[in-house]
């Protein structure tokens, strides 16, 4: 199924957020200052960027998608 432009952005936001959350999760399995720094400087920014990207297009809207003419077999 072809994705709408907004859905492609949503997919990118989803991957970014899940990558950030995965890093956060892994850092919780290790009690060490490096884990703390990785949490704060890699995991959290990835989550923040992903969420901000999603919110940006959700609130401000994506560029108007071109209106596609209905194909013949779609017209009843």
């Amino acid at each position: 199924m072809a994705l709408l432009p907004m859905e492609r952005r949503l997919r990118l936001a989803g991957w970014t957020i899940s990558a950030g959350l995965l890093i956060q999760l892994l850092t919780l399995l290790w009690v060490h200052p490096l884990a703390f720094v990785a949490f704060l400087m890699i995991g959290t920014p990835l989550v923040a960027v992903g969420a901000a990207y999603y919110l940006y297009f959700l609130i401000l809207g994506s560029p108007r998608e071109p209106i596609r003419e209905p194909m013949k077999d779609e017209v009843s």
Partner: protein, 207 residues
């Protein structure tokens, strides 16, 4: 029974699952319910999970295990077991005067993460020196600023044993101690002293 950390990890795992699901199948958001799930999965849950993780990381950073996880601090950790109670850290640690699981943080409350911005930057510098620079010898490690009596007084202030101790009984001296004009370490000067650990004997904690 699940402990708090396990619950936090499960919560973050749930957030990962939902954001991953939407990354794989973004078309789920076409329905009204999907839009709500999308907002929860890509905004609310990640924010909540990050806050949960941050809170857990902050708690962990107070733990003795956290501080001693850097090899350079291992001698300071060993000094807690010195079999000589004239040393302040050993006396406090071995007699449970401070919680053992947060022993470093209890006496160094403004160190690195918990201090002002300058201290936080120093904490990052420690990591840089540890992994990319040339770490000093443990005996060469010094505090950046003189030890503040506040760290002692937040437990000792007002206690009878402190106020009536022979060295503190003079009201002027007591006032100078409380106002940080005279350092506690001016008299109680046996602290970690890791340079002398090679000749020390150590207390074995009963199992």
């Amino acid at each position: 029974m699940l402990n708090t950390t396990t619950l936090e990890i499960l919560f973050i795992a749930l957030a990962i699952y939902l954001s991953h699901l939407l990354a794989l199948r973004p078309e789920l958001t076409r329905a009204r319910g999907g839009k709500i799930v999308g907002f929860l999965a890509l905004c609310v849950l990640p924010a909540a999970a990050s806050w949960t993780g941050f809170s857990e990381q902050m708690d962990r950073s107070k733990q003795t295990q956290f501080c001693l996880s850097c090899h350079i601090m291992s001698d300071h950790g060993r000094s807690l077991y010195r079999d000589d109670l004239s040393y302040l850290p050993a006396a406090h640690f071995q007699n449970n005067r401070i919680p053992r699981e947060v022993v470093c943080y209890t006496c160094h409350t403004t160190y690195t993460l918990y201090g002002p911005l300058q201290s936080k930057l120093e904490g990052l510098r420690h990591l840089y020196v540890q992994y990319l620079g040339t770490p000093p010898k443990p005996a060469e490690i010094k505090l950046y600023s003189p030890y503040n009596n506040r760290e002692c007084l937040h437990c000792h202030d007002g206690s009878r044993s402190f106020e009536e101790a022979s060295g503190h009984s003079d009201p002027d001296v007591l006032q100078q101690i409380k106002s940080n004009e005279v350092s506690c370490l001016a008299c109680h000067d046996q602290v970690h002293d890791v340079g002398s650990l090679a000749d020390a004997t150590f207390w074995k904690e009963p199992q």
